[in-house]
């Protein structure tokens, strides 16, 4: 089996969970990966300080899409104030594959926009 393009990665890429838009929403952010032109946006509905609903949208490579899809399942239900504390390792561990330096930004884009929406901090997760 492929090291990077594991079945579940391709599955999330082809059938991404929690993709689309959310109207109305409480939080949103949008960003891109300069390397390959991936674009990703997020809409979040907050309820009682927690992420009640979340939708990603945009286009990108298998890694960035799968990362968004997989992360979305963890993010829903999480207290908003916890989002700012999530770091790069959190996503990379979630993905469960080893990520080369070239693909790192693909993997981190979903967390970047989610943090951007929740905290306004648009820097790359480290």
């Amino acid at each position: 089996m492929d090291e990077l393009y594991r079945d579940y990665i391709l599955d999330h890429y082809k059938q991404p969970r929690n993709f689309g838009t959310l109207e109305p929403h409480d939080l949103e952010a949008h960003d891109h990966n300069p390397l390959c032109g991936d674009e990703l946006g997020v809409h979040i509905r907050v309820d009682d300080g927690k992420i009640a609903e979340l939708r990603f949208h945009g286009q990108g490579c298998a890694i960035s899409q799968a990362s968004a899809s997989i992360a979305s399942e963890e993010l829903i239900g999480m207290p908003v104030e916890q989002i700012g504390k999530l770091d790069a390792d959190w996503v990379v561990d979630l993905l469960g594959i080893s990520i080369s330096p070239t693909r790192r930004k693909c993997a981190l884009l979903s967390l970047k926009v989610t943090r951007g929406a929740a905290t306004g901090d648009a820097s790359w997760p480290e």
Binding site: Y5, L35, C36, E39, Q59, G60, A62, I63, Q65
Partner: protein, 406 residues
């Protein structure tokens, strides 16, 4: 299958291929032959000195090597030394025109006309100019086959507000070879100045800038088997003479007073500070090398590989190529997408097979938007490529489809 038009066999001149790559990214930058690397090497080892003002032999030698290269580059391009300005790259060459010509001649209500297939380097300088001067930036459309329309050009020019037209000679995404001498002639007839971005053209076909007849013609050394750090701007003498300088500093002046200065002759008036000396020498060696092969042969080789690539990629399910179908109308670059696999993943999976292709927007986001894709994959060629490289690409793409379960 079309017969091999030429049997170029120059790969042994390119040391990088010892690593075994199928390098298909020459539109981003070309590989360099031994002859170019050695010319710079020997410049630094034997003849290095600052140019133009040195009295001693070593400085004279360096000056002769550098200015001799300029003369050969000028001849190669159908221009002359005095109107052949060395810049850092094509981007700086275009910015030079935008700053030194544009800021003086483009004003409120004027228009700058470019096309939807321009590289960012031929978009952003005009955006900056237009926003500074209150002018409007307009774009000629690109048809579904990747072509410009001269009729549309005529219509826009007829409106009478266009001060400058800037068009790419060969598109780095679509491969389209644009009719630049017609475009330059129509611009001139309409009283507009013309700029041609020849970054992809000069490296792969015989270009005579006098024949093209544009006011400015820009290109870049590193795509023409030459070094990084050097580009070229050919300009019409009267324009260059009438223009104010761009960058100020050493070498571009005739004399400096406390309050003002007088400027040096062409081409040095536009070359401030210490020149890219070794890079000039390297570029001279590059065009010698290309001239040795013959630009007709280079072009025939690229045409053949493009033809073959279109054919081989056509065999792959779900693969779509962009740009003109006729290899006579396009340079050595093929952009494509494969349904169900993002270009970034394609490039990664090709890399695993030692096949180097590019994925992304190719510094042409407006064109990507027109094509309705976020990114494409792209294979591009130069003299060192052969059909085996294309075969390796086709196999890698088939493998990629398997990985993605397609």
């Amino acid at each position: 299958m079309a017969p091999l038009a030429t049997s170029l066999d120059v790969r042994a001149d390119f040391p990088v291929f010892d690593r075994g790559f199928a390098y298909l990214d020459s539109a981003a930058t070309s590989q360099k032959p031994r002859q170019v690397i050695e010319a710079m090497d020997s410049y630094y080892r034997c003849s290095n000195a600052n140019v133009h003002r040195g009295v001693y032999k070593l400085a004279q030698e360096a000056t002769d090597l550098f200015e001799g290269a300029r003369e050969r580059v000028a001849r190669f391009a159908g221009s002359e030394a005095a109107t052949t300005i060395f810049t850092r790259n094509a981007t700086e060459a275009i910015n030079l025109v935008a700053y030194a010509w544009g800021r003086e001649h483009v004003g409120e209500g004027d228009e700058v006309l470019i096309t939807q297939m321009e590289h960012h380097s031929n978009i952003v300088p005009w955006q900056i100019l237009c926003s500074e001067r209150g002018a409007t930036l307009r774009y000629l459309h690109v048809s579904d086959e990747g072509l410009l329309s001269l009729d549309e050009l005529d219509q826009v020019l007829a409106e009478g507000r266009v001060k400058l037209v800037s068009v790419v000679h060969v598109s780095n995404v679509l491969g389209t070879i644009n009719p630049v001498s017609e475009i330059a002639a129509r611009a001139r007839a309409a009283g507009a100045v013309s700029v041609i971005d020849g970054s992809q053209a000069m490296p792969q076909m015989a270009v005579d800038v006098a024949e093209v007849g544009a006011d400015f013609y820009a290109w870049t050394g590193h795509k023409a088997l030459g070094p990084t750090g050097i580009g070229v701007l050919h300009g019409r003498r009267e324009l260059l003479e009438s223009m104010r300088p761009f960058l100020g500093g050493g070498d571009m002046i005739a004399s400096v007073g406390f309050d003002s200065s007088t400027y040096n002759e062409l081409p040095w008036k536009f070359e401030a500070g210490t020149s890219a000396i070794a890079e000039g020498v390297g570029l001279g060696a590059a065009i010698d090398y290309l001239g040795g092969i013959g630009m007709e042969t280079v072009r025939a080789h690229e045409r053949d590989l493009t033809h073959y690539t279109l054919e081989r990629l056509g065999e792959i399910d779900g693969l779509r190529t962009f740009g003109p179908g006729d290899p006579d109308m396009r340079g050595g670059v093929v952009s494509f997408e494969v349904e169900g696999i993002h270009p970034h993943d394609l490039a990664e999976l090709c890399d695993r097979e030692g096949v180097c292709i590019r994925a992304g927007h190719h510094c042409a986001q407006p064109l990507m938007r027109e094509l309705g894709v976020p990114a494409t994959a792209r294979a591009s060629f130069h003299v060192y490529n052969n059909r085996e490289d294309v075969d390796r690409l086709a196999e890698a793409l088939q493998k990629a489809r398997k990985v993605f379960g397609l």
